[in-house]
Symmetry: C2
Subunit: 106 residues, 2 copies
Amino acid sequence: MAAEPQLDLGAIDRLVHEPARMGILSVLDGVAETDFLFLQRVLGLTKGNLSAHLAKLEAAGLVTARKAFVRNVPQTTLAITPAGREARVRHWAQLERVRDLGRPPG
Amino acid sequence: MAAEPQLDLGAIDRLVHEPARMGILSVLDGVAETDFLFLQRVLGLTKGNLSAHLAKLEAAGLVTARKAFVRNVPQTTLAITPAGREARVRHWAQLERVRDLGRPPG
């Protein structure tokens, strides 16, 4: 194993790296869009917890949240953005490199 | 995708999940033992940063640090413990499950 820095650990996006947000991006990456309650149930998060994580992801442009009334019931529909998919792909590539740090090259 | 919790995101060990500590465990998992300077160079961390992360991993019993003088120069030798290897395997299994949240089963 060469003794120069193999990767920039500082470049790992902590916004994406937080486990709940990793989970949100994973679920959203597998569907065109989904609703808040479904996401809450699949991830086993509290309403407040999920809302806080979604707000951070939305502020960073990685997900969109569309609010509407369906039969007089408020519903929030979530979707990943192209930037969100890219951030997820980049993050997993970085994690794979961290994982392979201990392995001999080739 | 079933709408029950697919995994317990809270069970992901934040001590291990921190990127620099993930990197430390990866490098140490690939060698019997190594020295502080090598680890510092491979991970591109500052001395203080690496020391702080190692102290946390050592306190949790995931790594050992052996200090000695080699030709009058202080040297710290690091190694992963069996508990450290287990924690790393468990952590990666959890990350794979997070990654697969968006994929249809089977």
